[in-house]
Symmetry: C2
Subunit: 321 residues, 2 copies
Amino acid sequence: MAQDLVIGIDVGGQTTKCGVVDARGTVLAQTVIRSDETTDAEVFIASLAEALNHIIAEAGVEGRIRGIGVGAPNGNYYTGTIEFAPNLKWTLAGSKIIPFAKMLSAQMNGIPVSLTNDANAAAVGEMTYGAARGMKNFIMITLGTGVGSGIIINGEVVYGHDGFAGELGHTCAVRHNGRACGCGKSGCLEAYCSAIGVARTAREWLEMTDEPSELRSLDKITSKDVYEAAKDGDKLALKIFEYTGRILGEKLADFIEFSAPEAIVLFGGLARSKEFLTEPILTAMNANVLPLWRDKVKLVYSSLKESDAAILGASALAWEL
Amino acid sequence: MAQDLVIGIDVGGQTTKCGVVDARGTVLAQTVIRSDETTDAEVFIASLAEALNHIIAEAGVEGRIRGIGVGAPNGNYYTGTIEFAPNLKWTLAGSKIIPFAKMLSAQMNGIPVSLTNDANAAAVGEMTYGAARGMKNFIMITLGTGVGSGIIINGEVVYGHDGFAGELGHTCAVRHNGRACGCGKSGCLEAYCSAIGVARTAREWLEMTDEPSELRSLDKITSKDVYEAAKDGDKLALKIFEYTGRILGEKLADFIEFSAPEAIVLFGGLARSKEFLTEPILTAMNANVLPLWRDKVKLVYSSLKESDAAILGASALAWEL
């Protein structure tokens, strides 16, 4: 039988999702395993291979897997390694550089494995199955716990000289006295426009002002709480989204001046707050970009089914193998 | 005889330089014509064709021209047009969109013509003949009257969706109360790190402080005056270069996070002040970039002979035709 299917694997700090996918982007079978039950990369990859063989059997598609695509934090496309990922605990002979693609391929009877970081995988997924179908130049921004990015130029992911290009979440949004970021720098876009950044803005503003807000009654504030409050018309919550959107829009203008994309594609948990983010993003983006791009670059949201998106994104990589 | 030569044309607001170039980057014959003696694009292109035929005859290389490369402000690679270039006065039937490549090719018996903006041409020149030979991923920054840029990813110029990508001079260097830029925005990198920006820093600082400086004796200050003063050990002039280098280095960190280049290549009149710029640029760049790129991205200066660089850059485009 033809090798007409691929596997997509989304590696996260707590769980790893995998699924068998056909050319139309239908997930035929999927499963989830824990990422954090072992610190031994070999043990993890053996259990991942077992899970893959299980879903292949479940879907009855033995022999039809053409390739495996993996999206992983700090994944390097050129080398197939995961290098020093802060939220993954695996080591291999004491090293935090894991030759993940090679190890997985060996466990899967030589099926080729392609690996990249999760945001790049999401961008390829969007181009193959989603909102960016037919686009050759776009920038995907993932607004999740952090801010990731995948840059597509001429229909290809930008990997750069070393395989790590596209760290737009760590470009500078606030130059002076910016917030400390998890990366060790300060003022990074991620420190403001991620789910964690939004929650932090809320906490800071609640402390700094006396403005009434339903958020004051909460013990621990998440970006979802801010979203719910904004839906209730809470003024402080609405202002938080305005601020978040403005900072993101200002940086998007810089990115447009770099690669002149057809569109910016937003994805991730925080992108669900689009009813409050779209306007401030567009206003700031268009106010800060050169006149030649004003009101010309589209802002679109991921169209992939949320539960499948991570697997689809990673699987899309495998079609290029 | 084989078509083994190309022509490079560098279109500027006042003069247009052109030359016949061989595969090694030797300029066999060259000439300069005025750009500003007519506002009629057809008249200009006819006189340009005449000049080209003259240097072809002078070098005795009739029939050997394989293609013509043009670097021009606001040049669009995809369409071969020059669109709304502020410092070029030509119109065609009342329009500021000039189909330059097509018109020139028609005047030159159908020799193919490739056109892009001047900074992109400089980047291709550097990759073909200069400091970036062998590099597949680098960013060229031209520090002249303005700040231009040419971005190379996987060995190719980034043109973007519309052909105008790579306007790094107009990314935001100073977010709040930034200087007005010629483009209509404020706070642009170009407003600080161009020759004009350096002169402006000098004027502002002389006015704002009482600091002694040999620059105080001058009527009109240029970036060259600031350079001369710095060479004399003038403290204010040295501080101006430190400030200029820091602002540039901060933005270079953002650019590195975008495309992970092997090197940043600096070019243009202001780049001649490298003895005062290199250290502050590198310090700011490495302080602002993610740890994974710290001290890893090279900062190099153009190695092309100044007088030939513009022609060589444009000519390099023609080899790709």
